[in-house]
Symmetry: D2
Subunit: 358 residues, 4 copies
């Protein structure tokens, strides 16, 4: 399935080195003002080539709006967005087409479909996430008009963790890192890593403020359940936590449960979700990214004839894919929220303001 | 949404203290032999009242098959399963109906729906998971006939972790613990905990062996994405990992990527999934459970009039809900797998055996 | 698929002669007052055994509410309804189990599933429609509170058509016939038919008044498209028309297009739907029912061994299944409308009252 | 919803006079050989400008394949198709943007969304059906390789019906008419109609041969139910019949039920479907198209300020939209069939060949 969401539904298409990538957004509320230029900022935040620490693919990623917008306003009909792949270098894929790269989807696509587009990873490339970010631009605008804001930062690279936290510095460094004083250390860390030819994992934290209580559907449509699926659907993700996540395992109930008072919650171990439904607190999600498997250090593998081979990946590749994953995680958070918001007013639009609200 | 799965679709219903709980399984392949008795084992593994370490609700949980089975065989039509709530003690809920228990879904249901069934947690009770286990009995039977087997164990209680691993002892102790020598320690640990009135979290690991390569759909229907949603949909879950999970963050690419040879994979950091599709290795998922919030130790909260109150939960409650969560996690793993298996043969039924297969 | 609707989602289960039939209604708005007694009227309108012109199965069809209702109000959680099959006569099905009845689903179920529940038609029995009517009781209540009312009548039996139209007499005769003076003629017609051992088809017309403009989704979720699917999903239906239907084929554009003025539409050839979206006029649907194929007059067929046989159906069977189809068609109309209403407010809840409205 | 199908899922986008129209086909089986040229024939059959009896829009309608095809083979990933709108004449829409045309979706889109793209009918234009035909090219290829073939013809224009039937002449005349001798009569009929400024309705019949028994899902996913929705989703359709359709109303059961023998069915009143599942006979569907409402003859209406106006439609418009609807109905039939075929093998792939098969 290449569609995401139930009511605000995003369908993406396109391969890394095909003619284009794009998406169709179905179910978007009408009357949202949007211009092609508004996609530029978030796409640039995600874009490759931002720093020497991310790979060198350099694309304008200009979004063309093909439908669903009339005189600058969404009309309620499907919005198609298109980005041409202008930097899909023509080269000989004959070699790579016959190899299975360890840690990649080459072997699994081959086994599933019996055929595989080997150009730049084909459909399994993280290039697909560009359209998630693009679609989320519209979602974030609608959410923002309702006081819901999404943001994120990197929370770990390899074994380096932030030793301070200041949201205001996150956008000011290439790592989305919340502690400015550590940035030189990270630069050196990444330089050494790149030199070594190896890669490393990362952890991203994303949050949503202003989410009213009541978003989310119990049981199988839980807000946290859908967030988990959304984050795990991003390339290279291996773990998802809501609120205290795995730290909850060693906690006592007296510690974890967030006390309530007329002035609000005393803490937020829950990460803003109880019983699958938002509490009104900040929704907080942590996401684990594995180290990229595309390395110039050789790996043992096999080819399509079953022969033992040694795989060496040349070309541009991020030594830490998690570095530019923050905007992607934000995008998925926004897409889940708008979908749940629409579903909530569908079923519970008759329910008036419920008291007491803290 | 109270339905799970796309083609093997389970819809559950029922409240903790209503007349009954049940489910409808739609899309089940015809020709599976099944009897009411076959549900007993897994339901008993999950059941409350198994040991003094789990709560005292004692129900026969006899499953009645209402439809979809003829002369002991599934017919392809929807299978409805019903369990009457025989131990729903009649008592006065007037008090609890007016309180919001910290760490529970009371407040969020109230905010969402403007109305709340307070009896035993209503729909948000873990009683609902009974039907997941029941539905998975059929899924596991179909999977088992194809060589796919699901199992699980507890991997952490509070800060206690297994110091050895032996699958053969897991079913022999009330904790699904993989190291028999630690069981007395755990007994003492839980006794002390129960005495203190507090609760603690837990981690469950579930695995599937025999999954062929090719199950799972790229992008938004990834096998790992759906597993994440499935596990996070279980009550009290706060985190999900596939393969090495959050440990991947501090790993190097040379360490994480699993080398391949004609004899198979050299390791399984990926947890049996690459690009959202099964590799043919063991699928491995870890799940974090928070400590239960229902404690006899008082908590600060508010009531429906906004007054400050102190909440004390009496009655039966597990000091560690994770202890009997293993069969539930197994069930969700099985339900995801059968659904993906059916989807795979729908789209790729034309694809013959793909070589090389390792 | 045994589920109907996207947001107000009804899943039915049960076979004609199994232990029970039932349904689960997911996505129902909270706060609707409902009691078990409220199902009785519509179920009775649909029930077999109403007159000598319908078959003799006589069941109380008492609906048990298993979940989703607390203190007489819907809670927003799934509503499970159950009816026990009390008149499922135990008899020997060995004979019928080996025969394929012409005009029935026996052969197609056999070919599809390789197994077939032969008892009373199993899942393919019109008994399933009981739960559609039950689910629609709740839908009609919600719609009624918003001024939307559904009603229907028989518009043809065999070659007999009404020669007058008076809504007030429809519920007063066993045929849901809109012209009282013809009822004796119909009684005689049906008596002669039953005596002959043959059966006849019928046409039902259902309408919804008070539907505001704007319900329905263009393209593949059109209001008329979903009505067509809904009606065609009823047993024995072979045709569906919206507004003028097939009569439109011979009309001129100047005749068909409904002129508009500040006082409303001048006519309603469209049947209340344009571009898949309601116009604010009466939504009108006509439905064709084939004659039942269960006859005591012998038919040529084959058995499961491929032998030529002669099939004679004994037991109770309606000579005109369309006679009691009116409440079923009404139910499907109501189910489509509530689902579209919820979807409309999900996407377009930001759109205020739109002028001019006629 | 702008998506059609459950497993072979087509999502269309685009407005009549926007930059482009397109679609995304998700769930397509891998390994189907396809080239851009293969779309040309069916698109040409549907295209406007074919004869003087259809409107004058003249577009190359060249399909660009953006994704999902590698070296001429489908890969199992989403196939995006794009057609640029090259003949979207720039003109002043200020006038038409303020008018509601009778019989069109202008008023209903306005009421639903509060905003409307007036250019050439926007999203409600039949231009959208181009992508249905394009998507069906792939579906028909897959079906054809399995012996399933779809075809159609016009069965009525106004009050003219065929007086003979010969499939071999259908593609040889601009009306898809099955009796060649009537073509001159139809030419004269259409010339007179166009001269009068009026329009007329039409009936299309489409058939599928080679459908094996067993496709279709009982209850709400019936093959006939989905065909009804599919056809009713086409612009201007007001009625759908399966098999004998509304003629069944006046039939006797002895006449309608199709007798069976080891050599097959004696007749096909059912239209190839019983209980929602294919019988193995020809699947036959009839579709009623209303006369187009875009006429140069004036109609009474209102404008967006509620003033009484007279609407006159200038520009190119078909006097009978049904004439080129045959390929569209064929496309929808093919799309329903491939989706049901994939769903069937998902659920019933374990069921071997079932005997006796006639």
């Amino acid at each position: 399935m290449n569609s995401f969401g139930h009511l605000f539904r995003v369908t993406t298409f396109g391969e890394s080195h095909g003619p284009a990538i794009g998406c169709v957004i179905d179910g978007c509320p009408p009357g949202i003002a949007i211009t092609p230029e508004e996609f530029a900022n978030d796409l640039s935040r995600r874009a490759t080539g931002k720093t020497r620490h991310t790979s060198a693919r350099n694309e304008a990623d200009a979004v063309e709006i093909l439908s669903g917008v009339y005189e600058g306003m969404t009309t309620g009909t499907p919005i198609a967005l298109l980005i041409r792949n202008t930097d899909a270098r023509s080269k000989d894929y004959a070699n790579i087409a016959r190899q299975f790269r360890p840690g990649h989807a080459d072997y699994t696509y081959w086994q599933k479909y019996g055929i595989r587009d080997p150009r730049g990873g084909g459909r399994s490339s993280a290039r697909e996430t560009t359209m998630r970010v693009a679609a989320a631009v519209i979602a974030r605008k609608w959410l923002g008009e309702r006081g819901v804001h999404v943001r994120g930062h990197l929370a770990q690279i390899g074994d380096v963790v932030p030793v301070g936290h200041d949201w205001s510095v996150v956008e000011g460094n290439p790592f989305f890192w919340p502690h400015a004083a550590q940035v030189p250390e990270l630069e050196a860390y990444m330089d050494a890593l790149r030199k070594s030819g190896d890669s490393v994992g990362a952890k991203v934290v994303v949050e949503a403020d202003g989410v009213p209580p009541g978003w989310g559907e119990p049981i199988y449509g839980k807000l946290d359940g859908e967030l988990a699926a959304a984050m795990m659907s991003i390339n290279a993700v291996k773990g998802v936590e809501i609120g205290d996540g795995f730290a909850s395992v060693a906690q006592r109930g007296t510690e974890h449960r967030d006390a309530m008072s007329p002035n609000g919650f005393a803490s937020n171990h829950a990460g803003g979700i109880l019983g699958g439904i938002s509490t009104g607190q900040t929704v907080r999600v942590a996401v684990a990214f594995k180290p990229t498997s595309s390395l110039r250090l050789p790996a043992e593998s096999i080819d399509v004839d079953g022969n033992v081979i040694e795989v060496v990946t040349t070309g541009r590749h991020d030594p830490c894919v998690g570095i530019r994953a923050t905007p992607i995680c934000e995008a998925m958070l926004a897409l889940v929220l708008i979908d749940q918001a629409l579903r909530h007013r569908a079923q519970c639009g008759d329910v008036g303001p419920v008291q007491p609200r803290i």
